[in-house]
């Protein structure tokens, strides 16, 4: 199994930390992982993206131009990465702020209204974990118990009290995700 | 050693009036006759000998006339790149905090190419001693203008005299670093007379004593002659120094116990 994922959105949406938790969960279940962020000034308020690879084998290139899954959280990222999904691959997006919805017919497309839901129920800080929950419902590449372990590893211990909230967000995300176009 | 003396029977302890320190290597110095460097070397080594800290002292010498100082000082030394002695000494003192560390630098090294290292080591309050020989000229490279060259002073790169409109002002870096909270003892001395030599030695002693207290930089400037670079005899150069250098670089303590000295 090798899953090549791009997660892209605005800086501050938790794109990088979502990727980190996913990667750490992969480590917890003994898989090879890589987490390759965009870095530099573009992170500050602009777009941010991270390539996460989870695999049973040694990972070759950590930098890719085609992905099994794209998780897209703003319009700029939609424009940039819709065409980077491999044929037959998966695109997940949050429709919040999206003015041009994905148009491809050769991939599976799901939407997750996580931003709206998160602000509605007062869980904006764990919006990214809702999206992760939606992804894991479709592609359970890591087990939930390993997500918990990944959270423990990647959050400083003073933030461990937030782990239940994160886990709740994952569950909500799993219910929230909706098919848009399925092959 | 014994065979050097025609009358070894005269060498008795009761006859001893002066003895060079064993911390000076017994070899000819590379300095011009009449230059102040050799005197400062000897005072420095005498202080280490009297404090019995030679085995716990690490010296850093510069690029400049004293580039070969490590050959003359019989202690462990490092020759630094031009201007970088305070950075070199910073690491040494941080890694060997119980050792005594000093830099020995000229005006070009300390106040031109190494200004950043000088100011930042002083500002961090590193616990070592900086010995600054100021003769207003680049001696080793053949007498070019230094940051401390006086207005109107002729050098090979200011052959018609330093024009401050074009070449800027003499840099009083010692007064400048005395303003920094990281310096604890800042003084300016000279070595052209026996009493001046004694004062310089006292200042050096105090500078090394202060390293025990770990209160910051102890900085000893020695205004010195450069008879070769100034194109004078040694005696002329010392008179010229007193008449021209001292008004711009007045002698005495500038900062003591962390407090600026107010002059009347």
């Amino acid at each position: 199994m090798t899953e090549e994922i791009i997660i892209a959105g605005f800086g501050g949406q938790g794109v990088l930390s979502m990727g980190k938790i996913l990667a750490y969960s992969g480590v917890m279940q003994n898989q090879e992982v890589s987490w390759m962020p965009s870095y530099g000034p573009e992170m500050r308020g602009g777009t941010a993206n991270v390539t996460v690879i989870v695999s049973d084998e040694r990972i070759s290139s950590p930098i890719l131009n085609k992905f099994d899954t794209a998780i897209i959280l703003n319009q700029q990222s939609m424009d940039k990465f819709e065409n980077a999904v491999k044929p037959g691959g998966l695109l997940i997006y949050d429709p919040n702020g999206i003015t041009r919805h994905p148009e491809r017919k050769d991939i599976n497309i799901y939407s997750i209204a996580a931003a709206d839901e998160a602000s509605k129920i007062g869980l904006s800080k764990v919006f990214n974990m809702m999206v992760l929950g939606g992804f894991l419902k479709l592609k359970p590449i890591v087990q939930l118990e390993n997500i918990r372990k990944g959270l423990e590893k990647s959050l400083p211990s003073r933030h461990h009290k937030l782990i239940p909230e994160n886990e709740k967000a994952i569950t909500i995300g799993q219910d929230l995700i909706q098919p848009v176009h399925v092959l | 050693m014994e065979e050097k003396f025609a009358h070894p029977e005269l060498r008795k302890p009761e006859h001893l009036v002066y003895k060079t320190t064993d911390l000076m290597v017994d070899c000819p110095l590379s300095y011009c006759p009449g230059c102040g460097h050799g005197v400062v070397h000897r005072m420095l080594m005498e202080v280490l000998e009297e404090k019995e800290i030679a085995s716990k002292t690490i010296g850093v010498n510069p690029v400049g006339c004293s580039v070969l100082a490590y050959d003359f000082m019989n202690i462990d030394m490092l020759g630094a790149a031009h201007g970088r002695a305070p950075a070199v000494a910073t690491a040494i003192k941080r890694l060997w905090p119980d050792h005594y560390v000093f830099t020995y630098q000229g005006d070009g090294d300390l106040a031109a190419i190494g200004t950043a290292e000088t100011i930042h080591a002083c500002n961090r309050g590193e616990n070592f001693t900086i010995i600054f020989i100021n003769n207003g000229i680049y001696g080793m490279t053949g007498g070019q203008m230094a940051p401390t060259t006086l207005p109107g002073m002729r050098t090979s790169t200011s052959p018609y005299g330093r024009d401050i409109e074009i070449m800027g002002h003499p840099l009083k870096i010692t007064e400048l670093i005395a303003q920094l909270p990281g310096t604890y003892y800042v003084t300016r001395q000279s070595v052209q007379t026996p009493s001046a030599v004694r004062k310089t030695k006292k200042a050096l002693r105090k500078a090394f004593d202060l390293q025990d207290q770990k209160k910051g930089i102890s900085f000893v400037e020695v205004v010195s002659n450069c008879n070769s670079g100034w194109k004078m005899t040694p005696v002329q150069s010392n008179i010229w120094m007193e008449e021209n250098m001292f008004p711009v670089y007045p002698l005495g303590d500038i900062k003591v116990d962390g407090e600026l000295v107010t002059r009347s």
Partner: protein, 360 residues
């Protein structure tokens, strides 16, 4: 044994340094490597192992702090990125001339000039051919993973002291910024001052009356003396070339074509290899792990067996000169490169192989 973590390459360097018993880190912030010093400042090893961590006023000061620390026999290191490493070149030359052990990490970014903060391999010549003045070399490791970033810290210190020479880890912004699994070695205690004195009888760390004074310098005004020093250095570099070469070969046994690449480019070539083999093209990868000493004998032998080589680098063609010198001109050896922070994609690399070597 050891500990498994998910870390950035830059963080792995910092953690590995603490665990290797490093005595001092001296650095100046520059993207994309600032995490090295940031990590150390958060971990505060000066309160545990006693390791000194100091933010210098410039890269010039930092490299001269290394000179001071190394000259007293301590294990010292710095990290920087291309423009900062350019500023350090004089100091590196002094380290080589004074035969001092030190570790320098270069997280390369695109140039020339202020360039870009994105990854690049354009500092190969500077690292391998002696970027400073005079005839000298460093031992240069080119890690291709976060694990190797950590491993070459301890290995780098070991060889630095074995040969009394500066050692460089030549990485890039992508490997510095990416996170991967890394197995960290168990911490080793720093040497005591007495152990440092015993290990480095040449060092200037306070002269006991039982020996003469030690002098750390690269100066010898006597040309005959300076030539002797140069001959000593050259002899050392020949010994390093005989004993310290490291490389990796993947799928070279049946290969008709070879990618030659170091660091991140080698990872991209591995992906391109998979794509090529899916199309029935038998291609292997030769990855120099030390770029000085360059694995010239090994690549020469490989050159006798294959039809062509594509050297893939994130620069305008630097390592290719070493490949050509090693292999000769019996087979086509071409270069494919991207510059200025652009990372070649596996598709591009495969296309370059097909067009420049197979079809060329």
């Amino acid at each position: 044994m050891g500990e498994l973590r998910l870390m950035k390459g830059n963080e792995a360097v910092a953690e590995a340094a603490i665990r290797a018993g490093c005595d001092g880190y001296f650095g100046y912030p520059i993207t994309p490597q600032s995490e090295v010093m940031e990590y150390l400042m958060v971990e505060r090893p000066y309160e545990t192992s006693g390791m000194v961590v100091l933010q210098a006023e410039s890269e010039v000061a930092a490299i001269n702090m290394l000179y001071g620390g190394a000259g007293t026999g301590k294990m010292v290191m710095t990290s920087s990125s291309s423009p900062g490493v350019s500023l350090m070149q004089e100091g590196i030359s002094y380290l080589a001339g004074a035969e001092l052990p030190a570790l320098i990490v270069n997280i390369v970014r695109g140039g020339p000039g202020l360039g870009t903060i994105q990854p690049s391999q354009a500092d190969y010549f500077q690292a391998v051919k002696g970027g400073g003045h005079g005839d000298y070399h460093m031992i240069v490791y080119a890690p291709a993973s976060v694990q190797e970033m950590a491993d070459f810290v301890q290995i780098g210190f070991d060889v630095a002291f074995k040969y009394r020479t500066p050692v460089m880890i030549l990485s890039d912004g992508a490997i510095g910024q990416m996170m991967e699994k890394v197995y960290l070695a168990d911490p080793v205690a720093r040497l005591t001052d007495e152990e440092v004195v015993a290990r480095c009888p040449w060092a200037s760390n306070g002269r006991p009356m039982s020996r003469g004074h030690n002098i750390i310098t690269s100066l010898d005004l006597d040309p005959a003396g300076q030539e002797r020093l140069n001959l000593v250095l050259q002899e050392k570099y020949r010994e390093i070339e005989e004993t310290e070469v490291r490389f990796e070969m993947i799928d070279c046994e049946d290969a008709e074509y070879i990618f030659v690449a170091f660091g991140l480019s080698a990872r991209i070539c591995q992906k391109a290899m998979q794509l090529a083999r899916n199309k029935g093209i038998k291609v292997g990868l030769f990855r120099p792990i030390t770029v000085f000493p360059f694995p010239k004998n090994e690549i020469r032998e490989l050159g006798l067996k294959v039809k062509g080589m594509l050297v893939v680098e994130m620069n305008a063609g630097q390592m290719i000169e070493d490949v050509q010198l090693s292999v000769g001109c019996n087979i086509p050896i071409k270069h494919y490169g991207r510059f200025g922070g652009i990372i070649p994609t596996p598709d591009e690399v495969l296309k370059a192989l097909e067009e420049k070597i197979i079809g060329g």
